[in-house]
Assembly symmetry: D2
Homo-oligomer: 349 residues x 4
């Protein structure tokens, strides 16, 4: 950390999580971006690919082979699954911390990782010490962590939406937890594909991945850990024609213990000290645009049938669901103000 | 019926269900549109308000007070709630049948009607003989009916999505039925309102109406009738940034009896003779655009957790969810080919 | 032509113009679709790729190498540039007519073709007898044609927008003709590409191709032929976040002769007998959605500055701008009703 | 100015320019928002209407009648035309400066104002001293101004797009200047209206206002002043289905003097010291999303025909086209850093 600023590297800066990291870090007061790598675009000024960054990011993409990432204090991996784990040992050896926005350090169970991502895990020992990066859930461990598995977008909504209930054992596990989740199209990433073309995805919606979405085992594992219990989980993701935004509608059965608890108060108290989790007043439902471009996540509770609760959660999938949470994790890891670089007012309309 | 064609009137032709009726009826081979009324637009050529109809609809809006609707064979009401029931007695007295696209003839329980629509029902006797207009459910009664309560858009998806299970008593009612439904914005109607402005509704989504949506009691009543049983129903509608399209994700618990039944085959057989209900092959999930502009409704089945089933249903909310179903009902009532005027290939992309 | 129906083949049925041909031809009363080819998808049922066609198209894609296209009365090429000309000699030899929706038969000047499309023209002799397929412009020649070069989408709007003026020598060529054109994203085709992803193209617009768009020489050549004169032409295409729709704003300087002419009447008379060209009443401006899904093209005239005229033209880029015009050409070639299969009411909203 | 911060009032905080001012001013380092008025919403917490501002704006709307606006250093009017001029005398008398985002102080010619806005001007003397608020054009006068007429969105693009040419007398006025402009739908404001409903404006585009748009005389007057000359101006605005964003395509004829000038360099030099005007490298064309949410405006130059130039300009209509420019004007008026509060990286995707 020279001149009082963290030296930051980004591996894989050409996708949506990469450019979102750049948007946030460009005006982070405690950060110097020293390298943004891209195998295919090495040499190209970053702002030539992303004109929105003209005047904010002056460096060019560098070749991963020659970028001096070991000189960084922290490196973000906004890459396909498998890249971060291949570089983690060398970086850690040189004292560089890392945050992986892909799945390499999300699933503690290496067998599950290998099944869902169809590749062996190359550093299970590092995986053991990696921390799942939701600060509202694991803040103390994140402070000590050298490696963060930054959560998937869907899991962030489900876990923060249910955490207060699970911590207090208010969920009846005889009935499956259901997450009916909806994502904007940027969640599919910035890669050439017919299915996410404007002319395919606009004025259209669909459910997808019912027979097995990679966030299913991730949510499952975290829910079980929070619950300290086996449970059943039904997960139906949907694709919605918006650029950014994610909304999860969660249905759970409550235990009899919940009858005597004011759940609205429970949520408000649980998140009272959190800068980025906003429990809406009773009766108010959230819109995704109310968090567009910001790291906030908003929660509302409703009950239509006795003993059942519906929890609605919204976030910007690229911010609290990806790059913003990664910056929040970095802030926690380095003892910075947790909101540093994240004081962005949502863009509305 | 002169010149072998039905004489058709439309009351309230300026909203989305009205103009959609006009789109479909304009090229219906067995129909003459003789009157389209609008209090506010009387005298204005219909195609001046809706240039898409230039060359197809040559008449002007007429004043409801002077339009000779009693001379029609059938009148569609594409009006606010309460209008159809006020005119029903006179029309029926002159031998004119009617289809109401609003709610006046959907809820057999007048107390429920009065609670949810906040007005007394002016002709409960006519309500008693009215038929709930889903041909796949009530075809024989529709053939005999003089008055049709055309279903709401959401109810159509939920009822056709669950009918095969309910008919065979395969739903376990100890767990609530959950409908997580998503609608395009045209469902909110063609009326000046801030909440559905482009700049409000685009790139945005939200749940709404959790504390009480008017389609809730309608679905509830029909489900109970189909089930022959009490049951609990959780209904979460969402607004999605697309013009047309509706997708309902239905979650139910199965009875033990279901273990021995091939549900995919059950659905395929139940709908084998239906022109507008399409059960997709196992593993294929529907997109809303696959029915854009058409009267088709597509269904897919998936199970992630033993004893639980997820049913996905898509339709065009303005066609099978409103005007198309109304035309289908008319066809059934008058012994026409059920697909007459509805042979529209979905618009894709 | 067996059973009184034309035997039709489609080469390249997996792109947007291909599937749009299928949508229109599926319910064309005089057509049997006997083959839809696709090298990559041979064997796959067409409706598996395009579920919107379930129940309408029952055949599978066939291998171009084995499809018996010579047995067809007419073959449409919805393929990349260069394919139609490679197959044209064999098809013509067996008496099959053909309509190319790509550029192989649009530019009479082979040097221009070779410059803009970067390939030699393999059958300049056939090109000589090919007819540029705008029926409103070349109907008599189309009736006799064996090969049609179906126009580009932008050229159709510019040419039909200016034809009445050019035919009467009302354009002053000392000032360039300016076409400021806007296209929906489907115009870019159904191919995997980052630039037309939903998350890139939505809530965004841009001008493109200013340094040389392939429709520029096509428009230029046709304008000169219509004008019987040299002229200068400025063409600025823009990409707009809508699936379908094209709007061209045309700016021209009028000759002094125009002072004594009622241009509104000129246009109305010129197109009075045309089924698909609609001159709007004075003062009414067209919206693209007023032609969504239909073969109509609407025109409006306005003048803000003396001696200058602004012409606004809208069409559906996939219908009158591509597949619909191709079907219209087929109808003309075979003496069918020109509107056969094209009686589709625009989808609004 | 207490505690070193400007005391700011906003009159009319419920529209898009009002809420955009709030978004920008909420994190402006030199500003305290002391009052946001709304006749209809007095008493309602601002963040209840705009949940995107939860945690950023803690005050409620106040009644215009009782709000102590005279205690402010500056008051922004984000109101309908006519409101600012009614309150200007009292505010100025108490030493409060004001910036009107409506049209009250844009047109120096009161007859033109009265013709286009259909109301008398109540304070022509104040109008005389008001400054047209484009800092890149009038910075020195803005420094001294007490009243700013904040420009319309379209005029900002046209004037900044042509200013370098007009200052150097490079425009040939024998040919009209043409502005073919496209705006996102938020430009129509946050008011209940059918024409800008999602279901009307989405997947659709149109030209509008050809027979007389209120920005026409505003641009006209400013162009003439810049040109020191009479000139003719053709203005065609279009509505495009995006929330934010404006793109103007400007066509001009060059004088012979321009032949010897490198126009690209001319533009780059003219704007070299401007923080918010970005001249793109030769050959690069701008997208509206490259400025989404930010105060930047980007310009590109192209020439297809000798002696003619096409200038493409993009901005966010709500920022540089409205609220951002207003904040920039405030910064200039009070000697703050011109970029204070405007250091927002564009939101992409």
């Amino acid at each position: 950390m020279s001149n009082g600023k963290l030296k930051v590297g980004i591996v894989g800066g050409t996708g949506y999580t990469g450019v979102e990291l750049l948007r946030l870090l460009a005006i982070h007061p405690n950060v110097d971006i020293v390298a943004v790598t891209s195998r295919s675009e090495a040499g190209l000024p970053v702002s030539e690919m992303f004109p929105s960054l003209r005047g904010y990011i002056d460096i060019a993409f560098s070749d991963p082979a020659t970028a001096k990432l070991e000189a960084c204090d922290i490196v973000f991996f906004a890459t396909p699954h498998g890249v971060a784990m291949s570089q983690a040992p060398a970086l850690l050896a040189s004292g560089t911390k890392l945050i992986d926005l892909a799945a390499d350090f999300r699933l503690q169970d290496t067998a599950a990782f290998e099944k869902w991502y169809d590749m062996p895990h190359s550093c299970p020992d590092i995986l053991q010490e990696a921390v799942y990066g939701i600060p509202e859930l694991n803040r103390e461990q994140i402070k000590q962590a050298n490696v963060i598995g930054n959560p998937g977008c869907y899991p962030t909504t489900v876990l923060l939406g249910l955490m207060p209930l699970l911590e207090k054992s208010l969920v009846d596990f005889t009935t499956p937890i259901i997450a009916d989740s909806k994502s904007g199209v940027s969640g599919a990433g910035r890669k050439a594909a017919v299915a996410t073309l404007f002319a395919e995805a606009s004025d259209n919606m669909k459910a997808y991945g019912l027979s097995g979405h990679r966030h299913h085992p991730e949510i499952d594992a975290q829910l079980k850990q929070l619950a300290g219990n086996e449970l059943q989980f039904i997960f139906v993701p949907h694709l919605v024609p918006m650029i950014r935004g994610m909304l999860s509608t969660l249905h759970i059965k409550l235990t009899s213990k919940a009858k005597n608890i004011n759940l609205q108060s429970l949520y408000e108290q649980r998140y009272a000290d959190e800068s980025f989790v906003d429990v809406l007043p009773q009766g108010v439902l959230p819109e995704t645009r109310s968090v567009r471009g910001s790291n906030h996540l908003r929660i509302a509770l409703q009950s239509q049938v006795e003993d059942y609760l519906t929890v609605i959660v919204v976030q910007d999938n690229l911010v609290k669901g990806a790059a913003g949470q990664a910056v929040q994790n970095m802030n926690v890891m380095f003892g910075l103000a947790e909101t540093a670089g994240l004081d962005v007012v949502p863009l509305m309309p």
